[in-house]
Amino acid sequence: MAQPDNFGFGEEATLLKESARKFFADNFATDKLHGMVASDPNPERMSECAWDRDLWQQMVDLGWTALAVPEVADGLGMPVAAVAGLVEELGRAAFPCPLLSTLNATYVLAACGSAGETALGEITQGRTASLAITNKQGSWEAADTDVTCEQGKLNGSACFVQEARKVDRLLVSARNAAGLSLYWVATDAPGLTIHPDAIVDLTRDQAHIQFDSVEALEVSTEGVAALEQAMPAIWTILAADIVGAAEWQLQTTVEYANTRQQFEHPLGFFQAVKHPLVDVMVLIDQCKSLVYNAACAIDTEPERAAEYAHMAKASASETAAFASGRSVQYHGGIGFTWECFVHLYFKRQKHSQMLWGDAVWHRARLADILMGAVA
């Protein structure tokens, strides 16, 4: 199947992206973010979970959590390209919330067929969710999990669970006698304990989850297949978040480079500053183009989705790293302080860089697709 020239990014997607940008610009300026998440600079602080629930509820009311839910489960069934547009704006605002984690769970549930519809219906109703599919080693392979299920009870632990304290539900992968299944469980279920991680990123929360005989609803017996089908969308929307955040880093740093004077010139006059900032822009644009290409492939050319999504996330991880480094460096001394906003995005981007696979991980899998796996 061929892709449409415009990435399937039509009028609805355009309006959604514009309204999202306006929503965050009107309601959530960066100083508000800083005031909310950066109150405690103590490096040994425990993980915090500061976020604006009222603003989040407005996003839910706007229908943003149901965008990716298929129409059969009463969702909006928007194309991934449109969702990526919204997430790009979310990344630009670095807004702490469970939108990405809920979208991730949505894409996996949508790959579960009719068994996933009950859970998807809950998301349509405004419930939030996150994936609990990663083991203690932090493996990004779909089949790796430390959770088991016997007689409908989950035991073991899932690690690196995103936004664990913000969400209502977890979608858990667990081994059972037949193979690997996916389970839907409430975060306040008896026997489920959330152990927050103390993380660098101030705009997210993360935890490891202990399951002690937790009763759970099985939503798919084909867990690996569902996860593998959904991963391209998960990589792609995270890459979209990175693009938005990197554009904030670029524009903020350009503004500073135009203001700050040294040696009788603004910093941006010097090519040692100007040229790397152009390289940041080049990386962002490459990544953004690859994101919409991958999104469009998921919607219209699924046989290429994994290939293109690996490209998007490999590019995004490089972009996150380079844009972050340059943003702190070119803010100079002030960029090294807690009071300057650039560290908020630096930390969000470093988290995103590794999450769901870094550049080397994605390129290795891309090579397997394009060059064949090495025996």
């Binding site: 020239d5 415009n6 990435f7 990014f9 997607a13 355009t14 992206k17 547009g85 554009e247 670029l250 350009v254 480079a257 135009n258 010139h265 603004p266 941006g268 006059f269 010097f270 090519q271 500053v273 100007k274 040229h275 900032l277 152009v278 390289d279 822009m281 080049v282 644009d285 490459q286 990544c287 953004k288 183009s289 690859l290 919409y292 290409n293 293109y308 490209m311 490999a314 590019s315 080397v360 390129r363 290795a364 891309l366 090579a367 394009l370 060059m371 064949g372 090495v374």
Partner: protein, 411 residues
């Protein structure tokens, strides 16, 4: 954008059908010679003759100069060159040899020359009978183009030209040159003028063309020396001292941003043409040993090849996104990156290929055992022409930083 997605005028629809039929009947057969990778690398008379015959036949059929007025040898049509171009590229015709004439000289002559000069020069430019070259760069004026020192001194109705131009592609075949020079040494920009001057007919009478040999060993571009060349005032295109503005018309069209579409064909390849891309790079890695296994199995080599695959695809998708306005923050941001990215990706692909080839990376065109006939090291070396010509990568980064990001202008 595919032609089907665009509303076409009746004239365009009819013209497209005509082009398609004509190309079906008249597309030239396989070339009798190895075609160079681009018109700027034409080296032999045999290559030139074959390509000139193609351009002449396409012009005679009305596929070149479609949108130019009939009085100057054009087709007098409305926005039809793009149609002819699409059809020629679809038919995989050879490229046109008179690339500087069509893309840069013709729009400049049309906009700035006197009627008599247009009528004299344009028909033979379109037909390819007169090859054109461009005299802009000088030994002391590369990236800083406005510092050219070639000088024209007025003598009645004539001008006497002295100076030295370099990197002049096609000058050894050219009848005419577009020439940026100065008529006033006291003003940098306002002292510039713009001429069209004869080359071949003036050889030995004020013009000397000497081939420059590239680092690859190939010829293809030249230096051109003017010693008291006498030129009629009618061949001056600017209002005196406004040569820079005329040069902008040329450069705008060179970068594809002018109002007149450049006639373009291409797609035909001779058997030994070898593209610098990652598909060929992967093929090379499969066929080259490293530590007793194919280089394609080496995880470090795989990672580096995939880096280039990602960049190559990124450039392709940039071009696609540049037509989706809802996904653009700045109208020129992607277009202005094209040349920088294409040239640097080609350079890094060539560099990696030579490295992947290992010991065989040392073998050149004359060696029977050279991978891909030695074209990888040649492509790698030639890539420096791309990162230097038409504004070096450093100048491109200044342009992007200043025009797109709005950073302060560097000296």
């Amino acid at each position: 954008m595919p032609e089907s997605a665009r509303e076409e005028t009746a004239e365009q629809v009819e013209f497209r059908a005509y082009c398609r039929q004509w190309l079906k009947d008249n597309r030239p057969g396989d070339p009798p010679v190895r075609l160079p990778l681009s018109p700027l690398e034409i080296m032999t008379e045999a290559q030139l003759t074959y390509l000139q015959q193609w351009q002449k036949s396409a012009y005679d059929a009305g596929l070149i100069g479609c949108d130019y007025p009939k009085a100057v040898g054009g087709g007098g049509r409305n926005d039809c060159q793009r149609v002819a171009n699409e059809e020629m590229i679809r038919a995989k015709t050879p490229f046109m040899p008179n690339v500087i004439g069509l893309g840069m000289a013709a729009p400049t002559v049309l906009h700035h020359a006197q009627e008599k000069v247009k009528e004299q020069l344009l028909p033979r430019l379109f037909s390819g009978e007169d090859i054109w070259c461009q005299g802009f760069s000088e030994p002391g004026a590369g990236s800083d183009l406005a510092s050219v020192q070639t000088f024209a001194e007025r003598k009645g109705d004539k001008w006497i030209i002295n100076g030295h131009k370099v990197w002049t592609s096609l000058a050894h075949f050219a009848e005419w040159m577009i020439l940026l020079l100065r008529t006033d040494r006291s003003h940098k920009y306002d002292g510039l003028s713009y001429f069209v001057v004869p080359i071949r007919s003036a050889l030995g009478k004020g013009v000397t063309v000497r081939p420059l040999i590239k680092i690859t060993g190939e010829t293809g571009f030249n230096e051109v020396i003017f010693e008291d060349l006498e030129v009629d005032d009618i061949y001056r295109l600017d209002e005196l001292g406004k040569g820079w503005q005329v040069a902008m018309t040329t450069l705008l069209h060179e970068r594809g941003a002018g109002e007149l579409q450049t006639p373009r064909s291409g797609g035909m390849k001779s058997k030994s043409t070898h593209a610098t891309n990652t598909t060929n790079l992967i093929e090379l890695a499969r066929n080259t040993g490293r530590n007793g296994k194919p280089a394609a199995d080496d995880p470090l080599i795989r990672d580096r090849i995939m880096e280039l695959v990602v960049r190559e695809m990124g450039l392709g998708q940039n071009q696609r996104r540049s037509r989706v306005s809802a996904l653009l923050d700045h109208p020129a941001r992607l277009l202005l990156q094209n040349k920088l990215l294409a040239s640097e990706i080609a350079q890094d692909t060539g560099a990696l290929a030579v490295e992947v080839a290992g010991a065989s990376g040392s073998l050149y065109l004359g060696d029977d055992n050279a991978p891909a006939g030695g074209q990888w090291p040649m492509a790698y070396m030639n890539s420096y022409g791309m990162t230097i010509a038409a504004g070096t990568s450093e100048v491109q980064r200044n342009i992007l930083g200043e025009r797109v990001l709005g950073l302060a202008k560097s000296k």
